[in-house]
């Protein structure tokens, strides 16, 4: 990697950390103008910044507002870079189908997990909130394999996590997917009870769990990480 590229990647990362949407977009434009690799700009520049943001969040320096704005900076920069990507990724990224279960619309936690999963190199299919079991099944069928992540903040909707897992089982898809759950009413015990593969108490645990599940199911092809 040339010092020039290295400098540009650091600039992209720093713009994300600094919540500097304008700076991130400007740097993304310079990447294109200078003929640098836009895919590398995402995985080794922007994503690295986002991973540092995740670390700042874990350490209690950044909070939810910061994560959202850093993520906006990253998303805007990606929009500049994406149309120019010609390199296919070396390894097909693991798909994570994410959603807040039916009946619940609290999605901040799920949104944070989505941001951090993408920074970690997963491909996230975000089904949004108030997602019925059938929608998870349909997305899983399309994806073929990967991870399903279920989120809820309300105790009244926890049962829909079990319902979704049951629907995946009935559709013959359960073995193809790691299933993780999150949200404060849930727990590791509840995960076990409903047949999920694990519970993430926060975004950091969710990412670690996703990586364990990905490594388990794709032992010959570990998930691609930036750098």
């Amino acid at each position: 990697m040339t010092p020039h590229t290295d400098d540009m990647l650091k600039r992209l990362a720093q713009a994300v950390v600094d919540m500097d949407e304008e700076g991130a977009v400007a740097a993304a434009h310079r990447v294109i103008e200078q003929g640098l690799d836009p895919y590398v700009a995402i995985t080794e520049g922007l994503s690295r910044g986002m991973l540092e943001v995740g670390d700042l969040y874990d350490r209690g320096v950044y909070f939810v507002p910061e994560i959202l704005i850093c993520s906006d900076a990253m998303t805007s920069a990606i929009e500049v870079l994406k149309p120019h990507i010609t390199t296919a990724p070396e390894h097909k990224p693991v798909t994570v189908i994410l959603g807040v279960v039916e009946g619940d619309i609290h999605d901040i936690g799920k949104n944070i997990v989505k941001i951090m999963l993408e920074a970690a190199g997963f491909e996230v299919q975000d089904l949004g909130r108030d997602v019925p079991a059938e929608a998870f099944v349909a997305a899983a069928r399309d994806a073929g394999s990967g991870i399903v992540g279920l989120s809820t903040l309300m105790s009244t909707t926890m049962k829909n996590m079990g319902k979704t897992i049951q629907a995946l089982t009935e559709a013959g898809l359960r073995e193809k997917f790691g299933v993780m759950i999150g949200g404060c009413p849930a727990s590791a015990a509840f995960a076990k009870q409903i047949g999920a593969d694990g519970y993430g108490q926060n975004a950091q645990q969710a990412i670690a769990l996703a990586e364990r599940l990905a490594a388990r199911s794709t032992a010959e092809e570990p998930i691609p990480r930036p750098g």
Binding site: G60, P65, L68, D72, N111, S155, C184, P185, A186
Partner: protein, 344 residues
């Protein structure tokens, strides 16, 4: 089992005046769960004040808890100001469309009359409950503080971004929400109830201390001062993780802090000499999914800590008692406080 020797109203009265108590007061946050005691659908409970009141009377007669706690959803104040809520037949309402989806929408915000929409439901529920059982138990009404209300007006995601991108808009919404909260707190008191302020979106699970101090605290302080001027104790409940914001919460002017995801022993160490504490049997893990024995175990531990809380302790649930909680588990809270929480 030891019998109570004071009525709930006497017990709470003694608690507030520093008098002698027979045991710790016990206030599980029986909110929408009250509907289940009467077999009423949640949608009906939330939209009909008389039915809501009657559900609470029945729940009180069943459980004998020390305060009635009327509530349906945190977005009720925002709804009266213009946010659209969707009310399922048998589940809690949810925000369908925030009033200020576009910043320019703020000019269309309404300062409601005290009895508009869901606020009127609450007032009728208070009057219904007070008329029936007000001589033996105080009736409280839980409603959202300005920060949580502003989140209901704007959408939580958007408000979180506004804290950086549009601080003027955030403060405008907070100021307007504060006025509405003050008006409603007066209406609650006039109806014979006691306001309980809840601020779940201002939780440490979402905000850092600096943001809490800028955007939540000043509005809580002013609202609490307004309530205190009516001669009432101020109760503040913030769910989620509050360790990070506890120091700031102590400055809000509440007499009683109701806590959720923080160890009560930490709260005792940091706050018990400044404020009375309430909490925190775990709602989902214990009240919903546990056994009565699990409840008793937690109550026993909490009561032991409660004895070291110099300004008083109320045994409560960390947050709303889950709607489908087995009745035996809620009963176990009362049985537990009578067994482990004696003060005479």
């Amino acid at each position: 089992m030891t019998q109570d020797r004071m009525s709930p109203k006497e017990r709470i009265g003694a608690f507030l005046s520093g008098g002698t108590l027979d045991r710790f007061p016990c206030v599980p946050l029986i909110l929408n769960h009250a509907a289940r005691i009467s077999g009423v659908k949640i949608g009906e409970h939330n939209r009909n004040g008389r039915i809501m009141g009657e559900c609470h009377i029945a729940a009180y007669r069943r459980y004998g808890q020390d305060l009635i706690t009327i509530f349906s959803d945190t977005a009720v104040v925002a709804e009266a100001m213009g946010t659209e809520l969707h009310y399922p037949a048998d589940d809690v309402p949810r925000v369908e469309r925030p009033a200020v989806t576009d910043p320019n929408d703020r000019s269309r915000l309404v300062r409601p009359a005290a009895g508009d929409a869901g606020l009127g439901v609450y007032l009728e529920a208070i009057r219904t409950a007070v008329a029936a059982v007000g001589d033996e138990v105080a009736v409280t009404c839980c409603f959202a503080a300005p920060f949580t209300t502003a989140a209901g007006l704007r959408g939580t995601d958007q408000l979180a971004r506004d804290l950086y991108r549009n601080r003027d808009l955030a403060h405008d919404l907070l100021k307007l929400s504060l006025e509405v909260c003050k008006d409603f707190s007066d209406a609650v008191v006039d109806a014979g109830g006691i306001p309980v302020i809840v601020d779940p979106v201002a939780t440490g699970s979402v905000l850092g201390e600096r943001q809490f101090r800028e955007f939540a605290l000043p509005y809580l302080q002013e609202l609490h001062a307004h309530i205190a001027r009516r001669g009432l104790p101020v109760v503040l409940h913030i769910c989620g993780q509050t360790s990070r914001i506890l120091d700031a919460m102590l400055e809000a002017g509440a007499a009683l802090l109701s806590l959720d995801d923080i160890s009560m022993s930490e709260a005792r160490d940091r706050a018990a000499d400044r404020v009375a504490l309430m909490g925190n049997v775990r709602p989902a893990q214990t009240l919903l999914q546990g056994t009565p024995e699990d409840v008793l175990r937690e109550v026993r531990e909490l009561c032991a800590i409660g004895r070291e809380c110099r300004r008083g302790f109320i045994l409560g649930s960390g947050c709303e008692v889950p709607i489908e909680s087995p009745v035996e588990n809620v009963e176990a809270m009362l049985a537990g406080v009578r067994e482990f929480g004696r003060l005479d």
